[in-house]
């Protein structure tokens, strides 16, 4: 293991230590087989980080020609029920979106009206869209990931909620998927393993570059992150693909903070400490990338 990789492991381990919440994480260098992490097989609620796999499972049906990114759907008033995430819930019903734009909003603002449109599109060509996503995850080796809902009704959850009805995953599964996506962006063979083309892998990567609230890459200046966030009641998560300025994929990163206190003893909201940690994690990956 090269020295800078060891430094990265030590740096992230140090960051994770002594936090007032549990952190499971995994980082994979793209194409080298190097993996570091901690508690990365712990089952956690995925919240919106699951949308990376939803995005890829949907794109697999675009690749087969069963769906087109230009297919259009209309937002109805009923779709707003229970939705906490995204921007479309605040707009008037009747807006028409292409599948391409629904996917982009699902990834940028985590819009759960658009998530419903994406599942409806999958459901137009598969009898059980949730099962299609679960099957796709199993095919891709995400053996600890279970999609259990179209979108979680987080407004109905308490801080101490059970995981029983929620989509669950692990840091290992998510970093594994992103590592495959990174390779798929540069290699047609790797893209085919995801049941995609290189072009569709690049579409997925670019959709993740448009995240409205970046966390891993928020303080980076020499690398970028194509990333996706997850927000639960007591959990925050961030998964991402670190990219060189040239666009070359460098590393897949997955981090899940669990049992975050609503506030620290100082009065600072617990979530603020987590976002600081995610920013530091991104900077640690940037430091590693510079030393390669």
């Amino acid at each position: 293991m090269e020295q800078s990789w060891q430094h990265l492991e030590a740096a992230v381990t140090r960051l994770a230590a002594d936090q007032p919440f549990a952190l499971s994480w995994e980082i994979r260098a793209i194409g080298t087989g190097e993996v570091i992490g901690q508690d990365s097989t712990r089952a956690v609620a995925s919240f919106s980080t699951r949308k990376v796999s939803v995005l890829l499972a949907c794109l697999a049906l675009v690749e087969t020609g069963e769906l087109s990114l230009e297919d259009r759907s209309i937002i109805t008033e009923e779709m707003k029920d229970g939705v906490q995430a995204g921007i479309m819930r605040s707009l008037s019903a009747g807006i028409s979106l292409s599948l391409r734009d629904s996917l982009l909003q699902m990834m940028s603002t985590s819009d759960n009206i658009c998530t419903q449109l994406v599942f409806a599109a999958i459901g137009s060509v598969r009898p059980d869209p949730l099962q299609w996503v679960n099957d796709y995850c199993a095919w891709m080796g995400l053996h600890a990931t279970l999609h259990r809902e179209i979108f979680p009704r987080t407004g109905d959850l308490t801080w101490s909620h059970s995981l029983d009805t929620l989509t669950t995953t692990t840091a290992r599964d998510q970093s594994h998927l992103l590592e495959q996506l990174g390779r798929g962006c540069i290699d047609e063979g790797a893209a085919a393993q995801l049941l995609l083309s290189k072009e569709l892998c690049e579409f997925a990567r670019d959709a993740m570059l448009g995240l409205f609230t970046p966390a891993l890459g928020v303080a980076c200046t020499q690398i970028r992150f194509a990333e996706k966030n997850g927000r639960g009641l007591r959990s925050l998560s961030q998964v991402g693909l670190a990219l060189a300025t040239s666009g070359a994929p460098l590393a897949a990163v997955a981090a899940y903070a669990e049992n975050i206190p609503t506030a620290l003893p100082s009065g600072v909201p617990g979530r603020v400490a987590v976002f600081d940690l995610f920013a530091e994690l991104g900077l640690a990956v940037e430091e590693w990338a510079r030393g390669r």
Binding site: L91, L97, G210, P214, A279, E280
Partner: protein
């Protein structure tokens, strides 16, 4: 290292962030002079120093359109189309990521401007106003004059590109605070408004509805208490904290919070570009978030 949030008292923010310009005001506060010209300012620092609108121009744009909607029934419900040209000129917001044309109401477009700083919606709204024969700049200038916002200087409209503002110009934290107080609550303007009030109840309702739906705010509201999707009640604006423009022109932010008595406390702030120790959007939010959280705790005292 990223900057960390601090737990301060309101008066400590002045020395902790010497470059930060801000004003905190409340109706009937102890610091209020009680004169006709009272400002309701509780604490301030460099509050009369002019700065680029830098994120607060969208509030003036929304207010102007809401005001115009009073004299033209149905204006805010009319459809506008966000085109590829609008998206190409947008430097902020999420509609620029999309591909197809999108038709939405004027009300919804302003909502996206205030809640996400959507530049594509701004350019579509500017085209809409021009097609309707409305001189938005002149209307906005007239409105701010009526409100007595003499420190606000509006010099133009965004044209070929938009940072989600619509209006270009300068203001001061004191003037933004004055504006927030003029908006007061949906039912009542604060201070001693002109009779009849320049900003009607209907317009205040509209603006408050827009300011209550801001998507994942990164400025003054970024560190308010709450977890998951829950936050303490507040109103704010989508700012420039995540934009490249902020590094050149600074970061302005606005926040309104109810205190325990149900009266609103308002905060207007501007962090100049290249402030010491502020290197990333996370650092910007640490400074502005500290002030916002401090103001929240002050409302609980």
């Amino acid at each position: 290292m990223v900057a960390e949030l601090k737990m301060l008292r309101l008066e400590e923010c002045v020395s902790a962030y010497p470059e930060l310009r801000f004003a905190v005001g409340a109706a009937g506060s102890a610091g209020e002079t009680g004169s006709a010209g009272s400002t309701g300012v509780v604490t301030a620092s460099h509050a009369d120093e002019p700065h680029d609108l830098a994120g607060t121009g969208k509030l003036l744009l929304g207010l102007t359109l809401a005001h115009l909607g009073e004299g033209d029934e149905g204006l805010l419900e009319r459809p506008i189309t966000v085109t590829a040209e609008h998206r190409a000129g947008a430097r902020t917001g999420t509609l620029r990521l999309m591909t197809g044309e999108l038709t939405l109401s004027v009300d919804d477009a302003v909502n996206l401007v205030l809640s996400t700083g959507d530049g594509a919606c701004v350019l579509a709204l500017l085209d809409f106003a021009a097609a309707e024969g409305v001189d938005l700049l002149a209307e906005a200038q007239s409105l701010i004059a009526s409100l007595g916002l003499h420190a606000v200087q509006l010099s133009g409209l965004e044209r070929d590109e938009s940072w989600g503002e619509g209006l270009i110009g300068t203001t001061t934290p004191a003037a933004t605070l004055h504006l927030l107080r003029a908006l007061g609550t949906a039912d009542h303007p604060e201070g001693r408004p002109a009779e009849p009030p320049v900003v009607s109840s209907e317009t205040r309702h509209r603006v408050h509805a827009w300011m209550g739906k801001v998507f994942e705010p990164a400025g003054l509201a970024s560190a308010l208490p709450g977890f998951g999707p829950k936050r303490v009640p507040h109103q704010t604006l989508s700012g420039w904290e995540l934009t490249a423009a902020g590094a050149q022109r600074g970061y302005s932010s606005a926040l309104s919070l109810p205190n325990q008595g149900g009266e609103w406390v308002h905060v207007a702030a501007h962090l100049p570009p290249s402030s010491a120790g502020v290197l990333s959007p996370r650092d910007v939010s640490a400074v502005l978030g500290t002030l916002g959280l401090t103001a929240y705790h002050w409302t609980r005292d």
